[in-house]
Each structure stands twice: as C-alpha cells, then as structure tokens.
Amino acid sequence: MTEGRLTYEEIQAADKALSFAAANGADKCRITLTKSLMDMTGILNGRVDKVTHCLDRAITFSLFVDGRFGTFSSNRLDEKALEKFILKAIGTVRMLAKDKFRDLPPQERVARPDLSGENLGLCDIEAYESMTPAKRRAFALDSSRYKKWPANPDYKVISEEGEYSDSISDIYIIDTAGTRCRQTETSFEYGVEVTIADSKGNRFSANTWDANPHFALLHKDVSDEALKMAVAKIGSKACKSGRYPMVLSNICSSRLLTPMLTALGGYAIQQKNSFMVDTLGKKILPDYLTIMDRPHMEGCSGARLFDSEGVATEEGPVIEAGVVKKYFVNTYISNKTGMKATVDDISKACVVPTAGKPDEVTANFDGTWIEVNGFNGGNCNSVTGDFSYGVEGFVAKRAAGGRIIRKPVKEMLITGNLLELWNNLEAACDDALRKNTHQVGTLIFRDVDFSG
C-alpha cells in the first residue's frame, strides 16, 4: 500500500465521523478527506541542495445544522479527538444566522462512485511505487546540466536551481445524501531556474518546467531550455510605445484567459464583482472564439471527475461562437440566485484553435509585432475588466526579403480591457502545451497597447 494513499482505516474514520455528525445534530453533512505525499530533491549548481518528504492529511466537514452552515477542518483523525471536534463545530454553526439556500447537491448530479483517477489515466502507480530516495537523487542530478554546459564568451552561468518532485494525492468525498466519490492521481515534475550574467555583468534569468502524471512522459531537457530562454534575453530593453499585434506564446497564454474564467464564477456574478454580469446567453465575443471545458482529457493534469461538492464534471462549451454558455454555479449560489447549477469551477479550459502554428499566421504580417513569452506582475480589475500587465519577449520586424529580425524586449506594459482584447483576437493557434492545466495555444491579438 502506497504511503500517500488513503488507508482503509482512514476511510472508515471518515465514514464514522459522518454518522457521528448526523447522530449529534447535523441535519446534513459532507466530509472531504484528503491525503498526499510529495518527495522533492532540490539541486543547486549540480549538487543536491535540499531533500523534503511531505505527508499531508486533512478532514473537512461542511455542516448543515438547523438551517445554518459552517466549514471545519482538522488534520487529527483519532476517533475521540474527532468526536470532540464535531460537537464543538455543531455548537459553532448554531451561533450563525440561518441561510435557507445552503444544501447538498441532488444525487442525480453527483459523480459515480465506481470511477477514480485510474479512469482518467492520472495514475502511474507502478512508476511511483518504484521510486526510492536514491532514484530521485539520480534523476534530479541527471536532469541538472550545470556541470555539462561549456564555457561561453558571451555569458556566464550564475546558477542553476532545479527541483525534481513526485507526488500522489487521494481525495474522498462523502455526504449524508449518499455521495461517495474518490480520485487518486500521481504527478512527476521537474522545474528549473537559470540565472546568467552577460559580459557587462547584467543578469538575466528564466525558468521552465515539465509535469506529467506518468513518469516516462516527463521531459528531461528542461534545464537546457531554461538556459536557452535566459540567453535569448541578453541585451533586452524596452521598445518604443505604440499599438502592435501581440503574439502571446503558448507558455503563458492562459494568463489572459484566467481573469475571464474567474469573472464567470457564480459567486463573483452574485456579488456583482464581475465584468461578466448579465452576459449568460449573450454574444459578447467574436464568432470564431469557442472555449470548452474538457475535464475528462485523459492523462492530463487538471482532469477531474467531480468538483468540490462531488458534482460530476462534464464536457461542454463555456463560450461557443462568442456566446457565453456557462457560469460556474455551485448548489448554494444556484439556490440563492435561481441560476442553473453547473460545477463550482472550470476544470480544463481549452481554447478551440482557429489556426495552425504561429509562424503560419505571422507569415502574413508586415511591419512590427511583439512576441510575448512572459509576464511580470499586473492585474485585471474584476469589476471592469480593465487590465495592465508587465510583459517581456521579442519585438519582431519583417526585413527586406521577408526575413524576420527579433530583438529581446523587457520593461514593457500592455494595457486595455479584457473583453476588448479578446474581441481583437486574430487567431488561436493549434500548439497548446500538454503540461498546462488549461489548453491554450499561442494567441494572436490585433492592436494591443504597449508602453515602454
């Protein structure tokens, strides 16, 4: 039995706690039991710098008592301590104001109990169980390239800091209405940050990573990629302010999708804290923009069978041909607002491609455009959608003969309104990275305000 998986005794403790809560004043109760184990080996400049071993466990109660509601959690699972905890929690809920909209989800909406992470291809138990401290150390050292990089007259490598980690996580949700669902998944990850200095002592750094539920699919060339990215930044500076087409790389394109997904959250809509209020069913984006939720993408991180209430996830459009098709509405917000209940949040957003590779789109570009491959701070106003982000990347220009000249840029800002930006989408490319939770390829926007 893998140490990081829930044991029979732990599951039994959760089942007993549910019965105890129901027998001692809770009208309804949901229990979420989680456990995870993560081992990490950190490498600094080709040497092992850090080793960690993290085993976590928590039990969370959502208690519905006399028309009132509260949430309580503990990492102490012994029976007597839990019973005392539950009695105190029930007493606390009774002090709160009534809220008639709180309820468990109806049974027809919850996930099937016979499905688990294995059904989504999220478990590589064999590889996980074969891991030993020595293997982890060897993999981490082997992934480091610090001692293998030849000296270069143009730059000096200051540091290479990498981390290999593997983990297993297990979640079990039960409630007094009969919900019983569980998902187990493994993850293997290697991330690295490389800092270099050019011949004048100016520093440049870059980081990248790879992650996969399956060990054999984990890329091992991450360090070289980070060095390449850092070297490409040498000589970077701000370029002239103006309106340019923006080619937003697939390594960071989901950054401009996330605020839109947040604004579709039922709680934000109910609180009027969203620029997507009153947009359901309306066409507010271009015809060619379709965003799907694909929670069942096999073997991809972010895939899940159920949400935090145990409600079964399903594939479907969030934005279809520019029309808003879905808000993310849990049972509470649905009861409170009358909006149709869906799931509490998106699982895996996928922007449906409208084009092939980025080069095929920019082949038609004349003049200057900016290729953005990293963000540095910024924000989007949740109420208005107005945004301003720090960005870096390359300014690209088509020279005579069709050749493209690229120069690195930094200390640039993009400013605008998110809905206006997405309405200026020129193309969504077909190059999404499998390692990312949200599947968003390179995005190309017209007329973006850059200042530098």
Partner: protein, 484 residues
C-alpha cells in the same frame, strides 16, 4: 504570549528526553545540525455576506517539522502526529540529506558553524511583543457576530452607492515549540487577528470596488470601535474620485509614492533582493554589493521584527533566533542582508532573526518581517509641488519582481495625476514598471512622514508569511507608467 515550558511539552505530548532522542536520530547519518519545530494552530473565520453572518468555521493544524542540515544542504520532513514512531520516521526521512556522510568512526559530524548556544534558556518575557489580553481560543463566535454586523452598519451608512458588503474576521493562535541539537528549547504562543472588508459600489452606470483590511499580532482585544471606524472610513475613502478615475497617458515620468501602503514596492522590488538565500546562490541583483552605496544618503531601510502587535513581528524567528531591527540600508550604504542560520553560516555572520516559515510543513528560509524606509527631511507637500508632470500613487497591489534582474511591475489601484505641482485627475488601473536597484538610486526626495501600514500583507515567497511594509512619501525620478 509565553506560557510555561510544561504547557508546551504537554500540548505536544513529549518530554525533553524524547526531543533529544529525535534529534539524535536525525543526526545519525552524519548531519551537521538538526532542529524540531512543533506547531499547534487553531484558525477561526466568520463571514458576513448579503447582510448576515451566515458562514464560519474553525480549523486545526498540528504537527512537527524536522530539519537536518549538512553544510548548507537541507533535509526536511514532517509528521502530523507527535507519537514517537511518526516523529522518528520523519527524522529518518530528513536525515536523507546526509545519508552516507557519517564519519567512519561513527561519531556525530562536526556541528560547528550553526551559531551554537547563543540563545540559551527560556524565552525572556520582557521581549514578549504580543501578550494576549483576550484569547481568541476561549472566545465564542457569538461574541464576534455583533461586531461584524456593527461594522456592516457603519459602512452602509457612509454612502448610498453601496450595493454589496462582505466582511471577514479571521483569527489564528499558534502554540510553537522549538528544539535543536544544542538542547535549546524555545516556546511561545503567537496570535493573529485579521478583519477584512470588500465593498461593491454602483452609481447606476458603473461599478467600483474597494478592499480594505487591518491585521495585528494580537488577541481579540484588537476589535475596538476605533479599528471598526477606521476600516469603515477607508472602505469608502475617495469614492467620488474612484468613479471619476481614468487611465492617464503612459510613458516615463516621475512617480510620487504616498506614505504607508506604497511600501509594498519596497518589500517586493528591493526587500526580496536583500534576502540572503538569494545572495548565497548569487541570484540577487544585490549580490556582491554589501558595503557599497546603493542610493541617496538620506535613505535608510529597515526590516523590523520588534514592533509590538505588528503583523510582521516575532519574539524570535522559526529557528529560535531573537527578532531584531535590522538595517539593510543605512544612510545609502548596503549594510546587511537578511539571514537565516544557513546563510549566516555561509557568510560567517550572526543570523538576523529572519528564518521564518509558513508552518511546520516548511523549512525556514530568510523572510522579511516589517520592512520600511525611515523618514527623511522633506515635507510631502513640497515633494508633490516639485513635480511638473507625473503621477502620485496612494495604493498599489499585485507587485512582482524578478530577483535576478531586479525588474518589477506594480499595479496602481488608485492615485492622481500631478500637473504643475498639484494633484489633479484621479487615476486607476495602470502599472508602473522599473528596476529595483535603479529605482532605489533614482529616489530623489524622502518625506518626513514614514508610516508602517497595518493591512493584512502576506508575502508569498515559496510559502506564505505575514509581513508589514511602510514608507514615507518618496519621489522616484523616472519610472515607466503604462497608460492609454
């Protein structure tokens, strides 16, 4: 608050003999230092939403973190139980960092270099910076619900454009006990209370929002009418200007930062680059600059863990090192980095009490406490009057910095255009972007009005930690402002 040694040993169900046995296991494979960090934290929260306090709860987090150092390398593991078997298992996992390094004669490796025995004995009660007058743990939720309702009423009556109010009260009390291979036993109880409010306003045409908070390392005595009134005032402050605010034209220009909360720029853009783990790894842009002039001689920057009741204050850090007031920059000279025991050993200096961690689940690393710039000589109104065309910023959020390059970006929540020495059009939703060392060198005026902000600032370097920040009114000569 510091209670008796027995209270902490009983809380974690251990004896001093057991503590010794665990550290011996941790050191058995040749480590050069080991320590234990016990934590029993209880959190509570109450939320007022749509006019009533309809949700709340409490949470318990309990366990022990075990760290083994071998030179500057770290092995770390933790157990969520303090039974001996679980702790010994974690000690063995942490000792993996030094596996195979045990000297051939079987002796414990040389542990010199980890500042041994500087902080012997029981904590000094005189240094207690957060005595708890009213313990959150013994108070009932029913005592706090009327306070949230009162706060809601105070806000509601301040402006008719309010359409939604959300108020959250969170409290946290942690019993902490630390033990290391030198037999040093430290213990204390750390409180934290946070009151936060979000308000949505509408004038029928547009919608605006404000988010304000107050947070103190104090017991429930922090919930005074004065604090409620201050929060209510701040939630609706400059509301007409919020509705009128526009994006200015962007470009390079002088930026005046208002006193107090603008100190977040100091924390992000300069403070992180002073943390000695980044210096040890040579990743910081300030590496190799100790003792050098980095800015105007009127500037002194402090990281302070000694302010009574402050969110960033500690009696001692999470390695048992007493908190102190550390000058990072004194009269323009870079005088100290912020150290934990690992970086202090590397640089052969005393640790500065900055070894902090989110919880027993994390190994300590150098972290800031309350970071601020001391007051200078200029009057704030003279600083503004000296600018022909620029912006005045009174609230930042969402800052980010790249430690290697020093490049930073900050989102301006609110501020004003400065035209011919006067504040004119209200501005919002823009970014300022620059480079930390360059911005520091470009500060040309420092106000006489330094304030340490009391909002619920949380630093997110690998793990979260409560901090504070502050600054006087300052003028930075040349920053890039993103605008229309």
């Amino acid at each position: 608050m510091i209670q008796s040694k027995k209270y902490y040993l009983d809380t974690f169900g251990v004896t001093e003999e057991q503590l010794r046995a665990i550290t011996e296991t941790a050191m058995a494979t040749g480590g050069s230092y080991a320590d234990l960090f016990f934590e029993n934290t209880s959190y509570s929260d109450l939320m007022l939403r749509d006019g009533e306090v309809t949700s709340g709860g409490f949470h318990i987090d309990y366990g022990v973190g075990i760290r083994v150092l071998k030179g500057e390398r770290t092995g770390y593991a933790y157990a969520e139980s303090t039974d001996m078997a679980a702790m010994l298992s974690a000690a063995k996992a942490a000792s993996a960092i030094s596996r195979g390094d045990r000297p051939a004669d079987g002796s414990i490796a040389d542990s010199k270099g980890y500042v041994p025995r500087l902080y012997r004995g029981a904590p000094n009660p005189a240094a207690d910076r957060y005595p708890i007058l009213k313990d959150w743990r013994t108070a009932s939720a029913s005592e706090f619900i009327p306070i949230l309702n009162k706060l809601k009423d105070m806000i509601q009556q301040r402006d008719p454009r309010i359409i939604k109010i959300t108020a959250v009260l969170q409290d946290q009390v942690s019993d902490i006990m630390m033990y290391n291979i030198y037999g040093e036993l430290k213990y204390e109880t750390r409180p934290m209370g946070t009151l936060a409010v979000s308000v949505i306003f509408s004038d029928g045409k547009t919608t605006q929002s404000s988010h304000v908070s107050r947070s103190y390392r104090m017991g429930a005595e922090m919930l005074t009418d004065e604090v409620l009134s201050e929060l209510a005032d701040k939630a609706v402050r400059n509301l007409d200007d919020r509705f009128a605010a526009r994006r200015p034209k962007g470009g390079k220009m002088p930026v005046v930062m208002g006193a107090g909360a603008s100190g977040i720029l100091l924390h992000e853009a300069m403070g992180h680059a002073f943390e000695a783990d980044f210096i040890r790894k040579k990743q910081s842009v300030f590496s190799g600059k100790l003792g050098k002039k980095v800015c105007d001689e009127n500037i002194s920057i402090v990281d302070d863990g000694t302010i009574r009741g402050n969110r960033g204050s500690i009696n001692f850090d999470d390695e048992g090192v007493p908190a102190q007031r550390t000058y990072m920059v004194e009269n323009g000279i870079l005088t100290s980095f912020l150290h934990d025991r690992v970086s202090a050993r590397h640089f052969k200096v005393a640790p500065t009490g900055n070894g902090r961690r989110e919880s027993f689940r994390f190994a300590p690393i150098p972290r800031m406490r309350a970071t601020y710039m001391e007051s200078g000589n200029s009057r704030p109104e003279d600083i503004i009057a000296s600018v022909r065309k620029g912006i005045f910023v009174d609230e930042f959020s969402n800052g980010q910095v790249k430690i290697g390059e020093g490049d930073f970006t900050f989102f301006v929540k609110s501020g004003y255009l400065i035209e011919n020495g006067r504040l004119t059009m209200p501005i919002k939703d823009i970014n300022v972007i620059g480079n930390g060392p360059k911005a520091l060198a470009d500060i040309v005026a420092v106000g006489n009005d330094s304030i340490v902000d009391e909002c619920a600032w949380t630093c997110g370097k690998e793990q979260s930690a409560p901090v504070s920040c502050g600054i006087p009114t300052v003028l930075i000569n040349n920053l890039t402002v993103g605008g229309e």
